[in-house]
Chain length 125, copies 2
DNA sequence: CAGAATCCTCTGAGATACTG
DNA sequence: CAGTATCTCAGAGGATTCTG
């Protein structure tokens, strides 16, 4: 899967815009919701599947691995039978909390706005 | 281009996660940086091109139109020769400012973290 | 200057089947 | 339970050319 660190073939510190950097890390199709659910605590693999019926095992694994690679989440493997794996935010991942929360708040206001007036797509600036 | 309001074939208010909703609106490849640049004021079409050499005319137009459709930006056309079009945030678009800014701050800390220790991809939670 | 129209290329994402 | 391993494909993203 794409090493999103190399969009321009340069190291990420050469990328001009930090907003883009953040989007690159949390912008995956399911990463927003995964992170949001992790704010409430540790989750297991099948717990994510139950919470998000739309996501396939494959994609879930992929998104989790990318978040792990980026240092956002931690993957704890318990050597048991049956196997158990728990996902949690790293300390660094926790620093995303204000970002996620502001996105949550805004998303809610956006949906409210759509419901209030579904036809309006633009307003005067 | 995808009507991202219909990921599940349902109206957006049926989508469970507001974080995803926000990502759907601002998660386009160039939307983060476009919005960030608009925080500083009105921009013209070729101004965006100069600021972001990597983006093609086509993609720029597309991203701007989607943001306009979603009520985030306003497109003011001046009937002149040569033509002039100015883009600005709508009032509603301005409500994205805290989101963008928190993403900017986080993106900077992420890049700093990479520079400090490029090999570390994970830390203990 | 600010686009519109075409055509093309990847890759993010999904379906399905199998396994330690 | 928590994953791999393949295969497939739509569609986001891009290059190029043309125009009011």
């Amino acid at each position: 899967m794409g090493d999103r660190r190399n969009k321009y073939g340069v190291s990420p510190d050469m990328q001009a815009c930090p907003v883009e950097t953040t989007l690159d890390v949390i912008g995956g199709k399911w990463k927003g919701i995964i992170l949001y659910q992790l704010l409430n605590g540790t989750r297991r693999f099948n717990e994510f599947r139950r919470l998000n019926p739309g996501i396939t095992q494959f994609m879930l694994t992929l998104q989790l691995r990318e978040l792990e690679r980026d240092g956002i989440i931690h993957r704890e493997i318990y050597k048991e039978v049956p196997p158990r794996v728990e996902y949690s935010l790293t300390d660094f991942g926790r620093t995303l909390e204000p970002v996620i929360m502001s996105m949550k708040v805004w998303g809610e206001s956006y949906k409210m706005r759509l419901n209030e007036n579904p036809t309006i797509q633009e307003e005067e600036s």
